[in-house]
């Protein structure tokens, strides 16, 4: 894992974004929690309600909370207008702030409740107003405990901020998610080490402030605060330099093919003189809207996904009609330019081991009908709930002996070991070629097509330079070439490539 040291220095901008996001969330949480704590200390009912709500937030899984802000902000656009960002910094900030509230609020309320009643009586007795009592007595005496809460909140927030990646907020989660997907463990480790290091550094600095407050040492308190402020300022400065002109933002969802294509697109744009930025590892659900809102400029999406998820269609009028319908709808309803089809499909398809297929004499889904009652079908965890499966099952009247769920990686292993006879594969998956699998044909056209589409956001749809740089990709990538590139990234042996290297190989292969 020596290469982790080569990766870390390149994480500077992710680190800066991570620091700015975490610091903003904690700052905002303090602005909300501290006045709330003062209020709660004056009223038992308020205390109960605020602490209850803050605890409730903690029970929502962080990933879900982050994702929930997307539809929420989208619906708020009817109030605040289309300028309201739905992805990236704003929803990440809101979710992290909610998470940070509890430790700050709870420590502040507890600190207030545990103040020496004699001291409070004295404050009244010497004639302090409520405000003077708060500022001169309650706040300074509670400060070390409140600081402990802020420390806890900081460690949580810095850890959770890595999930910002999934909603398009750059963070140290970018290398973690990219590394997990492409099984590049050095990348995962680098991201984890950087985020853990940041959390430890913040915890220790805030600890110095906490001790300074407890021991009433001005040097420690102000020294610690100064270092924290410097760190945040440096991150802000690092963020402000380099982002003076808006770059072209390229999205990728959480699988290898997306990372490779993003790199391929990015390399072409860079060669044409554009500054680009990658927003890797986005949740599949947010990419489409992100492009429509120009939060992201370029993505690769698939006709079948848009057809079922956004047009809510269940029929299958054929590949060409689907493409044209989607293309029109995107331009008309979203202002998104579908530049064209890359040339390959990443569809759901049924695959078998070639020896097993030959033995049973199966080459198409229609051939499978007779053999199915003796066979086991394997699918990814969501497959048997998806409209594609239902369409296939019903139109061929397939009746398998058993159906089993596998994580995608293990699906292929199950096929090799005989635990499954047929699996739902992805047609561009490199393992189809590597394992010499047979992809069954679909004579009835029950499975929708999944043509890979190059999508341009409204912001750059009219940019002739971008269009010129990317047009050569249209129709250029065969499924065989895509499979080879995917396999190069997915494989575990010495020939494993990074998405960037695989993208370069793919470009050479297709003659670009």
């Amino acid at each position: 894992m020596g290469d982790i040291w080569d990766i870390l220095p390149g994480l500077g901008d992710k680190l800066a974004a991570h620091v700015v996001l975490s610091a903003s969330a904690i700052g905002l949480a303090m602005l909300i929690a501290l006045p709330m704590a003062v209020w709660a200390s004056r009223s038992r009912a308020v205390s109960r309600i605020t602490l209850g709500l803050a605890s409730l937030v903690q029970t929502v899984p962080a990933l879900a909370l982050l994702a929930l802000f997307f539809p929420l902000l989208l619906s708020l656009r009817s109030v605040f207008g289309d300028g309201l960002p739905t992805l990236g910094f704003l929803p990440a900030l809101m979710a992290l702030t909610l998470y940070a509230l509890l430790p700050i609020l709870r420590n502040a309320v507890t600190a207030q409740a545990n103040l020496d009643p004699g001291v409070l009586e004295a404050a009244d007795g010497v004639g302090m107003t409520k405000w003077q009592k708060l500022v001169l007595v309650e706040a300074p005496l509670s400060a070390p405990f409140i600081m402990a809460g802020i420390r806890t909140a900081s460690v949580w927030t810095i850890g959770l901020a890595t999930l910002g990646t999934t909603i398009g907020q750059p963070s140290l989660g970018d290398p973690i998610f990219a590394g997990l997907q492409t099984q590049n463990w050095a990348l995962v480790l680098a991201g984890c080490a950087a985020s853990a290091g940041l959390a430890l550094a913040a915890d220790n600095l805030l600890w110095v402030i906490e001790i300074g407050l407890a021991k009433r040492s001005r040097t420690m308190t102000l020294g610690g605060a100064a270092v924290v402020a410097l760190g945040i300022l440096a991150a802000l400065w690092a963020q402000s330099t380099g982002s003076d002109e808006r770059r072209i933002v390229i999205a990728s969802k959480q699988f290898s093919e997306q990372y490779i294509l993003a790199q391929l697109i990015g390399a072409r744009l860079e060669a044409a003189g554009y500054a680009v930025e990658y927003r890797d590892g986005l949740g599949s659900a947010v990419v489409h809207s992100a492009v429509a809102s120009s939060a992201i400029d370029i993505s690769v999406d698939y006709t079948g996904t848009i057809w079922t998820n956004y047009l809510k269609r269940t029929d299958n009028p054929g590949r060409e009609v689907m493409y044209e319908t989607i293309r029109e709808w995107e331009t008309r309803d979203n202002g998104v330019k579908v530049l064209g089809r890359l040339g390959f499909e990443n569809a759901y398809a049924f695959a078998m081991r070639s020896d097993r297929a030959a033995e049973l004499g199966v080459t198409s889904l229609a051939d499978l009908v007779a053999a199915a009652p003796k066979l086991t079908v394997g699918g990814d965890p969501e497959f048997f709930e998806r409209p594609e499966w239902i369409a296939v099952r019903d139109s061929y009247d397939l009746n398998f002996a058993r159906s089993r769920n596998f994580a995608p990686t293990f699906m292929y292993n199950a096929l090799q070991s005989g635990e499954a006879d047929v699996i739902s594969a992805y047609t561009s998956d490199g393992r189809i070629a590597a394992d010499k699998l047979v992809v069954l044909t679909d004579p009835k056209g029950a499975l929708p097509s999944y043509d890979a589409l190059l999508m341009l956001s409204p912001r750059i749809a009219g940019d002739a330079g971008v269009v010129a740089a990317l047009e050569p990709l249209i129709g250029a990538i065969s499924v065989a070439a895509m499979r080879e590139a995917n396999l190069a990234v997915d494989r575990e042996d010495a020939a494993k490539l990074t998405p960037k290297a695989a993208a370069a190989g793919l470009a050479r292969k297709v003659g670009l």
């Binding site: 020496d116 009643p117 004295a122 004639g127």
Partner: protein
């Protein structure tokens, strides 16, 4: 000779907390310059009555007049700067050095107390002026209460009210500080109201003793009159304790003399 206008006057004061009546109608006035002890058993309502003076407790009905003004019409913060308050909890601010603790009242009034004045106040309660720089947790209990008294006196109050001020101190410290406070009372011409459950302390320090029982004033006598048997049953039961102790001590002493 006309009686001087009372500095403090309780006028039909009743304090209820839910169903509990802590003070059940007190009428009483206190002349300037007097040292009044308010004595009673625990729960007799004496602390509650005292706290109506600086409005830490508001009477359910009735009025408290301070120098002729109803305290409920005065701004609490301003009233409390004119009334020095010493209580058993002392309540020194642990995050301020002794000097800043003493200077807090004037500071709240927007006035900075000179270091010489702080030194003078410390000397008044027989503490080394060097204590001004120390933090409260570096002081003994007796020293802390001395600082508490100095803090109460810093604003040159017209009235000093004390709620069990020496309750948490050892007997030697307690007696010494009691005498010191009485001496300051005389020297500075203060008006002092002290709540205590210790009748001996009341008899020795005060020139007027009020006895409270179940929220009502049941006796209002001079120490001499109380020792002479005045004030009624409750007051006399309280006086009986130190008297009996004194008699037994005297008897012990007499026994020793006869042996020698």
């Amino acid at each position: 000779m006309a009686t001087p206008l009372p500095l403090l006057q309780f006028d039909g004061v009743i304090c209820r907390f839910g169903t509990v009546t802590a003070v059940a109608g007190v009428d009483c006035s206190i002349a300037p310059g007097s040292f009044v002890a308010l004595v009673g058993a625990s729960g007799s309502g004496k602390s509650t009555l005292l706290k109506t003076v600086n409005t830490l407790v508001e009477p359910t009905t009735g009025r408290v007049l301070f120098a002729g003004e109803d305290v409920s019409t005065l701004k609490p913060a301003r009233l409390r700067r004119r009334v020095g308050y010493v209580f058993q909890g002392v309540g020194l601010f642990p995050h301020f050095p002794v000097g800043e603790n003493i200077a807090i009242g004037p500071r709240l009034a927007g006035e900075k107390l000179a270091p010489e004045r702080i030194a003078e106040l410390l000397e008044l309660v027989e503490l080394d002026p060097a204590f001004a720089k120390r933090m409260p947790d570096a002081l003994s209990g007796g020293q802390r209460q001395r600082v508490g008294v100095a803090r109460a006196l810093a604003g040159e109050p017209e009235l000093l009210i004390m709620d069990e001020p020496f309750g948490a101190l050892d007997p030697v410290t307690r007696s010494g500080l009691g005498n010191k406070v009485r001496e300051l009372h005389d020297r500075l011409g203060l008006t002092t109201v002290m709540v205590t459950h210790d009748m001996a302390e009341a008899l020795l320090l005060a020139d007027r003793v009020l006895v409270m029982d179940r929220g009502a004033l049941v006796a209002d006598e001079t120490p001499r009159a109380l020792l002479g048997g005045a004030g009624g049953a409750v007051a006399q039961s309280l006086v009986a304790v130190p008297r009996e102790q004194a008699e037994r001590l005297a008897a012990l002493e007499g026994l020793g003399e006869s042996r020698s």
